[in-house]
Symmetry: C2
Subunit: 328 residues, 2 copies
């Protein structure tokens, strides 16, 4: 046991940079933690609609001594690559960087910055990457030859919704990814090897646009390489009123299904999420890993950590001995 | 990162004490690991039906220098309480001690013995306690006020089957515990607080007995205090042939369902197991945590660890950098 097992009696002093959907979710969840206090929000905007103290992002480093953990609630497309290492030099940080292919590079860059500053950088928390990553590693480790599939949805995909909205003529648009129930059953039965992203999911788009543009928009979306081309994609055109009424929530979810042979018997493991709000749940994971980051830092650790490197008890405000009594 | 991230090039030398169902499952799974070799089995019996080298349990300590991790495949009722600390003084151990209420005492005793010997004692692996414990702590940590329910089954319960077989007139008998689907749906919706063990599960017994005894056996089983009295219990009488054909497997499984509010939105997390063989899957968890125990010992750690204290990457034979690339 390398870190303190009891919850500290001194609250963890938390701060947030970025105040979009994720930042607002982190704000309300930090306030609900028994062992955290919210010091402030760093923003490039002068005024935010909050009663939390707001400081200019440019002067964040001046507040470093008052902050135990900084939640990086920044976009993965450009903000995290451009700004995260700068914060990691001055703060123990937690991010939800979600570009899977570039996580190893991000981990390396954040590790270097965090070590230089003597801090911990917890990278790619959230749920995928994040809790799904943890379950993929855990479940795969149990089988000599695991069959593993990840399914997403039903849920709104921000990246695909952005892609829809970039199509000429689209006024408003969202995209939902929906897992195929047949594919999940096949995966549990160990026949998941043939399941590809394209056969495991269907994509449904809801778009507001002038009628004259409908055919061209449908063609542009369904043939868009990487995003839509190999998938079964349906485009629904709806009124602006319908859009506002039915498509403003941010539900999401998914399943990690792992199965395999254990020397003559088959078993399966399923980890499933049903999320009323994607940013709220992503924030819940980020906040719990923020607690772990602050504890790792307090115990003298430095450098970057993924969720794979964090002992589960570090996520909880409940002391280890009580967790053992209650949960083991 | 406190421990080596790359899989060692030297195999982990494993040994087993106890050769019942669990010991046999551990044996076949250790052989299937890319990074373990099976040194031998310690047994009180002179001859075992295996080609693994067998040594007398009484002389186990003489082999301590040849063993990196010792799998304690011993019963929780008497063997673990009587023998486990003795092994922990000489070996890094992994057990599946499953008496939930006494885990804190076991953890304390094993910690003392392991520290005295300079070893690691990994306690209460398996799936409940074990993987379910991990998921209870993890999921609870995400919600300010979580609602959490654990459901067991469909599965064969050894303890309840033993109770059935002790009833006068029962020639052969098994008991399956089956979770109520309604109860699982209620838990996901956050209405799990009212669910008790009795309302969450039904019990089904399959019994071979003379027809003259059927009525008395049904009465004795369904009214048995603690084991059956508060549950919805059904007793099926079958032929010996049916029993041998349909009720010799050891399936089990269960669900940990956690839900809660995240400041205006609700989310739920489900961790579900469907196990073709309870001992095979318990062994799969024990073997993976054995890998973690050997790594923790190799990194200089000593003392007792629960599954709550183990970083997930330590369970996998795949090096950390590759796990980050593949799973995060």
């Amino acid at each position: 046991m390398t870190t303190s097992s009891a919850a500290s009696t001194t609250p963890i002093r938390a701060a947030i940079v970025g105040y979009g959907n994720l930042g607002r979710s982190v704000e309300k969840l930090v306030r609900a933690q028994p062992d955290m206090e919210l010091v402030g929000i760093f923003s490039r905007r002068a005024e935010l609609d909050t009663d939390t103290p707001v400081f200019p992002a440019a002067s964040a480093a001046d507040h470093a001594a008052d902050v135990d953990v900084l939640f990086l609630c920044l976009g993965s497309a450009t903000d995290i690559p451009e700004q995260a290492t700068g914060y990691a030099r001055h703060f123990t940080t937690v991010d939800t960087y979600d570009n899977h292919k570039l996580v190893p590079d991000h981990y390396a860059a954040m590790g270097e910055a965090a070590r230089a500053g003597g801090h911990v950088a917890m990278v790619s928390t959230g749920w995928d990457p994040g809790l799904f990553s943890l379950n993929r590693t855990l479940a795969d480790a149990l089988f000599p030859d695991a069959q593993q599939n990840t399914f997403w949805g039903k849920g709104l995909s921000q990246g695909h919704s952005d892609a829809v909205r970039r199509v000429a003529g689209v006024k408003k648009g969202v995209q939902y990814t929906i897992p195929s129930e047949d594919a999940i059953a096949e995966a549990k039965a160990g026949r998941g090897a043939e399941i590809t992203g394209a056969s495991a999911h269907v994509r449904e788009c809801y778009v507001v646009a002038d009628e004259a543009d409908h055919a061209a928009i449908t063609e542009a979306i369904t043939t868009m390489p990487d995003y839509f081309a190999p998938y079964s994609t349906t485009v629904h055109f709806i009124t602006e009123e319908e859009f506002e009424r039915d498509h403003r929530g941010m539900p999401h979810g998914g399943h990690v299904v792992t199965s395999g042979d254990l020397g003559g018997s088959r078993s399966s493991i399923e980890f499933a999420l049903e999320l009323g709000s994607n940013p709220d749940f992503t924030a819940a994971s980020q906040v719990a890993y923020g607690r772990a980051a602050a504890r790792l830092k307090a115990s003298g650790q430095t450098g970057a950590f993924t969720v794979l490197e964090v002992a589960p008890y570090l996520l909880s405000p409940v002391p280890l001995q009580e967790l053992i009594r209650r949960d083991v």
